[in-house]
């Protein structure tokens, strides 16, 4: 998987220019950066929601940015920060949205589709909710259902833009663990932007660190050993403690 000379932003107002990086498939990649540095823009661009100013994002020799929506939807699925609130739909039917790229014009699910849906429900431990209405769920439950929908889409790449932002501590950790399991047991490539740096450092295989209009792929060990986080987060009020691998207030 490689990104080559990619410039991203809106209407020729570039946020990040000339991004070049190569990463392995089948790992969990965290995207770190302060607000406004371009995390969401980067994820939206590689997910095909926002046209790039220039450049490419290749996955196994496929130039993903030139694919049609239909082709891309079989390659990558998306979980965004946007709160989807739709009534009159059960959790199971919501997860079934993940099968959209595979079903016929009328969207009729076949045996294989039901298998994928049930599989996603089991993986996310949502059996007890599957017949509830989606709009009656808590924010944490909704986010897990959204992730289950992306899993049912069964794509090699899953892109998540701050998926844990509305969740409490336990839910956050559950989501991280679930994503890691997808990488370990199913060989998925998970790209996740997050502000939960302490957890992400423990669980991600690689971090794309965005700072000063540059993006750098690093391992969590490299980040900790080279004090990389110091550059990003203001030292006057907070610092990253190497020994405990956590932030300390000053």
């Amino acid at each position: 998987m490689n990104i080559s000379s990619l410039s991203i932003g809106y209407d020729n107002n570039p946020i990040l220019e000339n991004i070049n990086l190569v990463s392995n498939n089948g790992q969990m990649i965290g995207v770190f950066g302060r607000n406004g540095q371009g995390k969401s823009t980067l994820l939206k661009t590689i997910a095909g929601l926002l046209p790039p100013i220039k450049g490419q994002f290749n996955y196994e020799e496929i130039d993903t940015l030139s694919l049609s929506e239909k082709e891309r939807s079989k390659l990558m699925s998306l979980v965004s920060t946007t709160q989807t609130d739709v009534g009159g739909i059960t959790v199971k039917d919501f997860i079934a949205f993940g099968r959209f790229p595979y079903t016929n014009w009328l969207g009729i699910n076949k045996e294989k589709d039901y298998q994928e849906i049930n599989n996603a429900i089991t993986l996310c431990k949502l059996e007890h909710l599957s017949h509830r209405n989606y709009d009656e769920l808590s924010d944490g439950e909704k986010q897990k259902v959204n992730i289950a929908r992306a899993i049912a889409q069964n794509t090699p790449i899953i892109i998540l833009d701050e998926p844990t932002v509305h969740l409490d501590l336990i839910n956050k950790v559950e989501v991280f663990k679930l994503l890691k399991e997808l990488v370990n047991s199913l060989g998925k490539t998970v790209i996740i932007s997050t502000h939960q740096i302490e957890y992400a450092l423990q669980i991600c295989d690689e971090i794309w660190l965005i700072n000063n209009n540059k993006i750098e792929p690093l391992t969590p060990t490299q980040i900790i050993d080279n004090d990389k986080l110091k550059d990003i987060f203001n030292e006057d009020i907070i610092s990253f403690d190497k020994a405990s691998q956590s932030f300390k207030l000053k």
């Binding site: 939206k44 997910a47 095909g48 929601l49 049609s68 929506e69 239909k70 891309r72 939807s73 079989k74 990558m76 699925s77 998306l78 965004s80 946007t82 989807t84 609130d85 739709v86 009534g87 009159g88 739909i89 039917d93 949205f97 993940g98 959209f100 790229p101 079903t103 014009w105 009328l106 969207g107 009729i108 709009d135 889409q153």
Partner: protein, 352 residues
């Protein structure tokens, strides 16, 4: 048919659809039966089957007045309801309807220019009924197409669908203002015939016009059902729809085209008929408790037909010499219903 049956998640919805089909037949029959002239039921059946009857005037009333009017009610109810449903989903706004994009207003402007504007140029539309009839239709469709063309030319440059909605409201307001100016300067006779058109009228439609309207509406409804999968994806928002493989730009244009043609043609023949497009989709959602368009589209068609047939029956209640304007009736039924939904039922926020 078998995969279609799978769509009815519960038997309740299937029974509801069956019930509504029967009530369509009932109200359609009632609509033919009721009117200022009493015609025995068996004679009506005989007339429709093409048999000869005692009175020639009965044949004329049934075949040239009541039957076209009842069919117009069916086409109107189904087309406007489906348009409203599609607009509400596309714009993710529970109060969207065929009117909100300014397409109906465009049709209104075309008609206003035709009825009132032409007299300025010294063209009289009063004497030539054939010219007046077709001119009305052509000007109405042209008016809605102009608005549509403006919208389509801008729509791909706008990232946010809400901007399109606001633009539609703006276009509608500008057009209303222009119509106001035309009204101010026009003569009493023309003003009256325009006002009559704005009240909506199912009865002015002729069999010949129905032969054009019926296929257009049928094709529009079939196409609507065919895009129901994309409409379902739109429930999650445009970003998710895109990530699920929907070509958002293309389906947006297709949905708006279907809506404009349905609204434009219906408005041309029957005048602007309000609130059906907003109310019926909500009614369908409440009754079926689903957001699935594969169920909502057929259900909205059935509900829309029922409501328009009832409105038409009310408009010609026995004892009344003249029929009431149908637009007033749909508004009188529709507005309290919208207020009731807003106050009592939180379902209206389903779409966000």
């Amino acid at each position: 048919m078998f995969p279609l049956m799978k769509l009815f998640s519960s038997n309740k919805t299937a029974y509801l659809a069956l019930l509504l089909t029967f009530s369509v037949i009932l109200f359609f029959t009632l609509d033919l039966f009721l009117g200022s002239v009493h015609i025995p039921f068996k004679n009506i059946i005989a007339i429709i089957l093409g048999e000869t009857t005692e009175k020639e005037s009965w044949r004329v009333i049934v075949l040239e007045s009541r039957l076209p009017k009842a069919i117009a009610a069916i086409l109107c109810g189904s087309a406007l309801s489906v348009c409203g449903l599609q607009m509400q989903t596309l714009f993710r706004n529970p109060l969207a309807g065929p009117y909100i994009l300014g397409i109906s207003s465009g049709a209104g402007l075309g008609v206003a220019i035709f009825i009132m504007g032409l007299s300025f140029l010294g063209v009289s539309t009063a004497n030539t009924s054939l010219f007046a009839n077709y001119g009305l239709i052509i000007s109405s469709v042209l008016g809605s197409l102009v608005v549509l063309a403006i919208l389509l030319s801008i729509i791909n440059r706008l990232k946010d669908i809400m901007t399109v909605l606001i633009l539609g409201i703006m276009i509608g307001s500008v057009i209303t203002a222009i119509i106001g100016i035309i009204q101010y300067f026009s003569h009493d006779a023309q003003l009256k015939s325009f006002i009559l058109w704005t009240m909506g009228d199912l009865s002015s439609i002729t069999t010949g016009q129905l032969k054009l309207l019926a296929p257009v509406v049928t094709i529009g409804l079939v196409l609507s059902f065919m895009v129901s999968k994309s409409l379902n994806a739109y429930l999650l928002g445009e970003d998710y729809a895109k990530s699920l493989g929907v070509n958002v730009k293309k389906s947006r244009i297709v949905i708006i085209l279907i809506t404009s043609i349905l609204t434009g043609s219906i408005t041309a023949y029957c005048g602007p008929i309000g609130f059906v497009g907003i109310v019926i989709p909500h009614l369908a959602r409440i009754l079926s408790n689903t957001s699935d368009h594969r169920i909502l589209i057929p259900l909205s068609i059935l509900l829309g037909i029922n409501v328009l047939l009832i409105a038409d029956i009310i408009s010609q209640l026995p004892g009344l010499e003249q029929s009431l304007p149908i637009n007033s009736i749909t508004s009188l039924i529709g507005i309290p219903f919208i207020i009731w939904i807003i106050l009592k039922n939180k379902k209206i926020t389903n779409l966000n």
